[in-house]
Amino acid sequence: MTGSIALLGQPNSGKSTIFNNLTGSRQHVGNWAGKTVEKNEGTYTYNGTKYSVTDLPGSYGLSGNSDEEMITTDYIKSGQSALTVVLVDASQLERSMFMLAEFARLDKPAVLVLNMIDVAESMGKTVNAEALAKKLGIPVLPFNATDSKDYDKLKKLIEDELKAPHRLIVPAPAENKNVKENSKEKFEWVDELLSDVTQTGDAVYKMSRFDRVMTRPVLGKVLCIGVVLLAFLVAMLIMIPFMSIGSMIPTILHDPVDKLLTGWNVHPWLVSVFSTMLPNVLYFTISMASFVFGVNIVFGYLEETGFLARAAYQFDGLLSKLGLQGKAICPMLMGFGCTIGGACGTRVMDNWGQRMLAMSIVWAIPCASIWSIIPVISGMFFTWWQTLLVCVGILLYVVITMIVVSKVFSRKLAPQATRSGMIMELPPYHKAHWKHIIKEAFFKAWDIFKRALGTVTLVSILFYVLSFSKDGNVDNSLLYRLGTFIEPVTKFFGMGWQTFMAFVSGAFAKEAVLGTLNAVFMGDNSLMEATFFSKTASTDTALLGTAMSAAISPAEALAFMFATTFNIPCIMALSTTYKESHSLKWTVKVALFYICNALVLSFIVYHIASIFM
């Protein structure tokens, strides 16, 4: 036996918390047919019956013509779900009951869940659920998302209602073609319903002391940036234990696997695939997933407490120039630490187009790894103040790239008509539900680990084949042959085969750039080892600097630095973007844009720099 239900609620009604707690890890994320709106489905079992849950897209109403509203209306009308669970925020009951007013005309079986009843009570608001249920004709369940007993009540209620469903007995508000009148009549319907069943607190609003500070024009912005940077550090701290265990994998596995396979007379090429490459892929993916875990915990916390809404308020004006909502500020700041963190941080945004646009803009932000290699390379060719100029130049170009990316992609991803975020609510501060945050972060990290392992392995094998040489000498690798073969073309863009190879490996992992330069200029490391052991191998930068400055011109070095910084981020960030957007088409589109951008930039920088140097 199976049952099917749908969750309906406005943004911030706690819908995703309830969805995640009901279904746990048994979730499937896809897209609504033909639309760029995310479709979340999941299942749970209760008393031997399996229930499927559809999380309907969040919107404030159902009368508008946005994709979200059309999908929801059509889905409920189709009757694919036998029961609609309508969620409202009990602490803002009057406003959030608007959704029920919109739902009423669809005349389908429903239950009403008064979520955040704990918050409402702490504000001195009371709701007489029984009286409301009597008026409505459907069950009304006061609900506290942190209380596991309430989930049992909800599951029991769903079980009962599927056997004997109820529909609203109160007449639906009249539909009016005039949008203004339509909403007005619906709010009057809500006011009428709530008139003798609720008691609200003070009519005068007093900002909390924290909010008074957080909403100050300058201080608030400084605090927001500070909090996000702190959040990044915390995410790193969470990641460290997992990463240090992961980092042991290549060392532990290398020798035994090597010995075993060599003993079986396996071809040395395959031996190093299993002894060097795969353990490193495992290590990379573990690092990435544990970072995603950390980021999800801190962002989950910041979102649940209501901090993100304050940050969005502060930066909305600035980011609307890029076609983004204010909420994008957090993933963008996160991007200075790590592009993977930035990409998965876009999860807090409620619209797919906005998320994809934010991810493609986050790619332009140089991550910590880039900031760690650029000064080193620049120092080989330039004085300290010239190096400073290079960094300033990079920062300026970050802004230019962001504007160009927004110009190129925002027309499709964030059409003027759908830009939201200018009108938004600032939910009251909530206590964070740690158990829920950690659980959800774990599921997301596990999910990304499973998916990324495949992608990263595939790309690693490709790079491995290209960089492999029997005797460890770079000159015998396919990449060398390919690099020297197309050198006339790369020279046009300002890069010789050596720097072009480092450019390519930078697309694999930014940390690999120094190792690759070492391999191609010094010839003492195999290219493959340089790439896969980049995180453990140390490079003698002084020696490398001498070799490099003898081999290439400062103009080429400059072109290379810019090209590497603004190329696609590492393969892990790429696969995170793919995972988060569910769109291979868009990930590839944006990646192609960045590759072209890097090459054109390299061309311009090289030819201008050649005039002066």
């Binding site: 938004m424 609510e425 600032l426």
Partner: protein, 73 residues
């Protein structure tokens, strides 16, 4: 007067909302309908206007606040 001209802590009610259907749909579905009482919480230069209405703290950008007419109580 316009919402954008209100000062912090002023209380009043919405008298008119002007704009196309898309704007109207967004603004009224969040609760800003004619006749609703509200309180301006914060109105700083170059920042969105913060108002309290129907038990909710709402942030509106300045261009939108320009299109809402209010009267003080």
């Amino acid at each position: 007067m316009k919402l954008i001209e209100t000062k912090s802590d002023m209380r009043g009610s919405i008298t008119a909302v002007n704009g196309d259907d898309h704007f109207m749909n967004r603004i009224t579905s969040i609760g800003i309908t004619e006749g609703t009482t509200f309180q301006t919480v914060r109105n700083d230069k170059k920042m969105p206007v913060l108002i309290y209405l129907r038990e909710t703290l709402i942030s509106l950008n300045r261009a939108d606040a320009e299109r809402i007419e209010v009267t003080s109580k």
